[in-house]
């Protein structure tokens, strides 16, 4: 399946891109599994992803949320607005 991942805040510097279209050889993909796949591709994310929350659309989702084929997943690191 295919997932569009959008990197917010400092994550886009770690990845070198604001967005990435990723392919996973799986039939189902949870948020936790997406994070594992991201660490395999971008080892620099390993220490950061535990404090990163994911959103699909404008809903924050749990680690066991099932991502749909073609979904856009936003990676939200710790926030610093204000």
């Amino acid at each position: 399946m295919r997932v569009r991942v959008i990197f917010y805040g400092g994550l886009k510097n770690d990845v070198g891109a604001k967005e990435q279209e990723l392919q996973f050889d799986r039939k189902t993909l949870t948020v936790a599994q997406l994070k594992e796949g991201l660490i395999a591709r971008y080892p620099g994310l390993r220490l950061k992803l535990p404090s990163v929350v994911c959103a699909v659309g404008d809903e924050i989702v749990d680690e066991d949320h099932l991502i749909g084929d073609g979904d856009e997943v936003a990676l939200l690191p710790p926030v610093s607005g204000g």
């Binding site: 917010y8 805040g9 400092g10 510097n13 404090s51 990163v52 929350v53 959103a55 659309g57 404008d58 924050i60 989702v61 749990d62 680690e63 936003a74 939200l76 690191p77 710790p78 926030v79 610093s80 607005g81 204000g82």
Partner: protein, 145 residues
């Protein structure tokens, strides 16, 4: 430009006009402005980025919480995104209430919650030419109420 997240300059006077209320006797405003240093390093600008739709939802939720939890009559929150030079307003909270005590508490609550919950990120640009994203507050998986 939406009701909560703005790409252009924030307009305090417009917000004051939109919240005019003859039953309110107290007005408390909080605003964040871009300051010229952070932990000793000279800053020349800040870029704010947001997950816009989610940030709008969070700011709307905080406004509604303020109206429910405090004895206040108006609460508006606006945050700017983009690159802001020194002195520019990054965020405005406007609260109006019959009396001042809940107006102060509500404005403080609104900015504290925004800082913890709104998906907004700050990248500081230093005089040295370097830039850095600041450490922040990890978002919660599920909203706690």
């Amino acid at each position: 430009m939406s009701r909560w997240i703005c790409e252009g300059s924030l307009d305090l006077n417009q917000l004051l006009k939109e919240t005019e209320d003859p039953a309110s006797g107290a007005l408390v405003i909080f605003s964040g402005t871009v300051r010229n240093e952070h932990e000793g390093e000279p800053v020349r600008a800040i870029t704010y980025e947001a997950h816009v739709t989610l940030a709008e939802r969070v700011l709307h939720e905080v406004e509604e919480e303020v109206l429910a939890r405090f004895d206040v009559r108006q609460c508006r929150i606006q945050h700017r995104i983009g690159t802001l030079p020194l002195g520019e307003l990054s965020v405005i909270v406007v609260v109006r209430a019959a009396h001042r005590a809940p107006a102060f508490e509500a404005a403080r609550y609104a900015i504290d919650e925004l800082k913890k919950r709104a998906p907004i990120w700050k990248e500081e640009h230093y005089e040295t030419g370097e830039s850095r994203y600041l450490e922040g507050f990890p978002l919660k998986m599920r909203e706690e109420s």
